[in-house]
């Protein structure tokens, strides 16, 4: 498995899904998206495929191919796809020339917002709304990326083989939550809460969670102080942490 292919999977399946929450929680984008009714297909030759569907103020990012999208964006290789995510390349539009206005004017506002939320600065993080959004997106990106790494990355595969069965819930008290479900060799990620997780990691508040995700907190001290509570089958959380630590190898 080439590192370009793993990175393309992370980009399409872990980074792109954040558009859903930006449309949902960012008032400016939500207002912009009111009248959007369009499906964009992303296809990478020899790599992942995903589509983004906008309708009724809701954005859904779904794995796989959509039959009859409005716009088709093609990438000749995983590396080509990654160049676009690094702002160093453009996709090849195969369909949707009539929607070119959406692609060149409206959609970039959304992707610029994505970049804005995923590249925090100390000043930006002082804003509570920004802090919440950055934390939410980081949490979700980490979990969706963990799924890909458990399936594709050699170290991830080795760790995932022993992770067992069940749901690992990540939750920020009074904030966002998401979970990853390991089930008979299949792995699913969902936003929200699972009723009876096999393992739980709960962080006391958004600030600590943000510091944790951005490597600014001593996690051992935080666990000992009760700022982070880990319980249940904690080996699952430990294995998941190894997967999280692999993310920067592919995504800077």
């Amino acid at each position: 498995m080439s590192s370009d292919l793993i990175k393309a999977n992370l980009n399409l399946y872990a980074v792109l899904q954040n558009l859903e929450d930006i449309v949902r929680y960012d008032p400016e984008i939500n207002s912009l998206a009111k009248n959007w009714d369009v499906v964009i297909q992303f296809s990478v030759r020899g790599g992942p495929k995903a589509h983004i569907a906008f309708k009724d103020e809701v954005c859904r990012v779904v794995r796989g191919t959509y039959r009859g999208p409005d716009i088709k964006l093609f990438f000749t290789s995983p590396a080509h796809c990654n160049r676009m995510f690094d702002n160093k390349g453009n996709p090849i539009p195969l369909k949707g020339f009539t929607k070119i206005g959406f692609l060149t004017k409206e959609f970039p506002k959304l992707t610029e917002r994505l970049e804005y939320y995923l590249k925090p600065t100390d000043d930006l993080l002082k804003n509570k709304d920004y802090l919440e959004m950055n934390t939410r997106l980081t949490l979700n990106t980490a979990l969706y990326a963990a799924r890909e790494l458990a399936l594709l990355d050699p170290v991830g595969i080795a760790r995932a083989a022993h992770i067992g069965t069940g749901v690992v819930q990540l939750r920020i008290r009074n904030g966002p939550s998401a979970y990853i479900n390991f089930k008979n060799g299949e792995i699913e990620v969902e936003k929200g809460d699972w009723e009876k997780p096999m393992a739980l990691m709960e962080v006391k508040n958004l600030r600590i969670a943000n510091d944790l995700f951005n490597g600014r907190v001593d996690s051992f001290a935080a666990v000992a102080a009760g700022d982070i509570v880990v319980k249940g089958k904690i080996m699952m959380v430990e294995s998941l942490s190894v997967l999280f630590d692999r993310i920067p190898i592919y995504l800077s």
């Binding site: 170290v155 080795a158 997780p197 051992f220 001290a221 000992a224 102080a225 249940g232 904690i234």
Partner: protein, 413 residues
């Protein structure tokens, strides 16, 4: 019953995290104690089967320093032997004479073993065992049991762990515990390639029920190893001297080629030993393997005193009897509150789990409730009973256990 608080432990841990990676690293890390805020992090003193934390809380210790404490903390005879040796000399340019005395005693004690090689930790001697097996056979591959723990060097940790590269584990083959068929298959698939088979006498992984060997499992493994020229290695680091003074292989009725001891061997003084059959003595002699403190005399004197005392009082039986009394009582109390408390392993080092909740969260909560009332229980690891645990300890523990179940029942119905 008063519940404990840990203000000083918390404060010291905060300081510790600034100075020491993880604050407290390795198996003493607070992380597996759930929730960590219900556990002490730092001890102040210890005596017999009890220890006191830096906040002054007293605990009946069911982890026994994760095994080394076997006769009781600050045991008079052991400490007297250690102190006597300290006055004579500890780390000296020549090997201490007590080393030969200890080797002689252990060779006479451990069934089938005719030499001893001393080190400090369990991992020192499991690693040495692998090197001896490879030297003796000229082969590379080692078969081990999945979930088995033999220390922390890279080959023992497995792929995907921090600091371990694929090459570290490329000669390690993993089979399931008690699956003789799997071992036989692996041997058939790698003719003339397997140097050794390493396993604990029974399966005692963390976070899972412990499993005793199936009927004839060890006898079949032993026969196949002999037929194929594979060195059989028993990692008796955890079980050693809690099952049988002659080695845990005698408890299960088989004869390995190499046996690794540590933990209970020195009642807290740092020492480990690899012991082997006569046929492997010259092979062990070829391996260059040593450490700065491996010839320190004090732990050797302490080990000699520990083993003599354990033999004198029939330590393994005493620990198993105390464990049984405690565990039977705990299971009965659990049942009376409607919980299924499952006990696995041998009663001198049992693993417990409340089966009513697969995620273990309920069990973790119960262990924490007991700990903050003075019975130090972990939820992820087998416990250890010592020869110092008394009837009074058992009685007090059962009172704590009852109250902890009462708390759970009230909370969850």
């Amino acid at each position: 019953m008063k519940t404990y608080t840990y203000r000083k432990s918390q404060s010291l841990f905060k300081k510790s995290t600034k100075l020491i990676p993880c604050g407290i690293y390795g198996h003493f890390s607070p992380a597996p104690n759930i929730p960590a805020v219900d556990y002490p992090f730092f001890s102040a003193r210890a005596k017999g089967s009890h220890f006191w934390d830096v906040d002054g809380n007293e605990f009946i210790d069911y982890m026994c320093a994760y095994g080394p404490m076997v006769l009781g903390y600050n045991h008079q005879k052991v400490d007297a032997a250690a102190l006597k040796q300290l006055k004579l000399g500890n780390c000296v340019t020549c090997a201490p004479s007590v080393m030969v005395e200890l080797a002689e005693y252990m060779v006479a004690l451990i069934n089938g073993m005719e030499w001893a090689y001393f080190a400090k930790n369990g991992g020192d001697v499991t690693n040495l065992a692998i090197m001896v097996a490879r030297t003796a056979t000229g082969r590379k591959k080692i078969v081990m049991v999945g979930g088995g723990y033999h220390g922390v060097t890279p080959w023992m940790q497995g792929a995907g762990h921090y600091g371990v590269v694929d090459e570290d584990v490329e000669n390690i083959i993993v089979v399931d515990w008690n699956d003789y068929g799997a071992f036989e298959k692996v041997v058939a698939e790698h003719p003339g390639e397997i140097a050794g088979f390493i396993s604990t006498p029974y399966h005692h992984p963390a976070f899972a029920d412990n499993e005793l060997p199936a009927d004839n499992y060890w006898q079949k493994v032993e026969t196949l190893c002999r037929k194929e020229g594979i060195v059989s290695i028993i990692d008796d680091v955890r079980c050693g001297f809690r099952l049988d003074m002659r080695g845990s292989h005698m408890y299960f009725g088989f004869q390995p080629d190499l046996v690794c001891f540590c933990k209970a061997m020195g009642n807290g003084y740092p020492i480990s030993a690899l012991m082997g059959t006569a046929a492997l003595k010259n092979e062990a002699a070829k391996v260059f393997y040593t450490g700065s403190y491996w010839f320190s005399a004090v732990p050797m004197a302490a080990a000699l005193a520990t083993l003599k005392e354990l033999k004198k009082i029939n330590g393994p039986k005493k620990m198993q009897d105390t464990g049984k009394k405690l565990l039977d009582g705990m299971v009965r109390i659990a049942q009376s509150y409607g919980y299924d408390l499952r006990v696995t392993g041998i009663s001198s080092m049992p693993y417990l789990r409340i089966t009513d909740d697969e995620s273990m969260m309920l069990h973790q909560e119960w262990c924490a409730e007991c700990t903050k009332r003075g019975a130090y229980f972990t939820s992820h690891h087998n416990w250890f009973i010592s020869a110092a645990h008394t009837e009074k300890d058992v009685k007090k523990t059962l009172n704590i256990v009852e109250e902890a179940f009462k708390v759970l029942k009230k909370k969850y119905g």
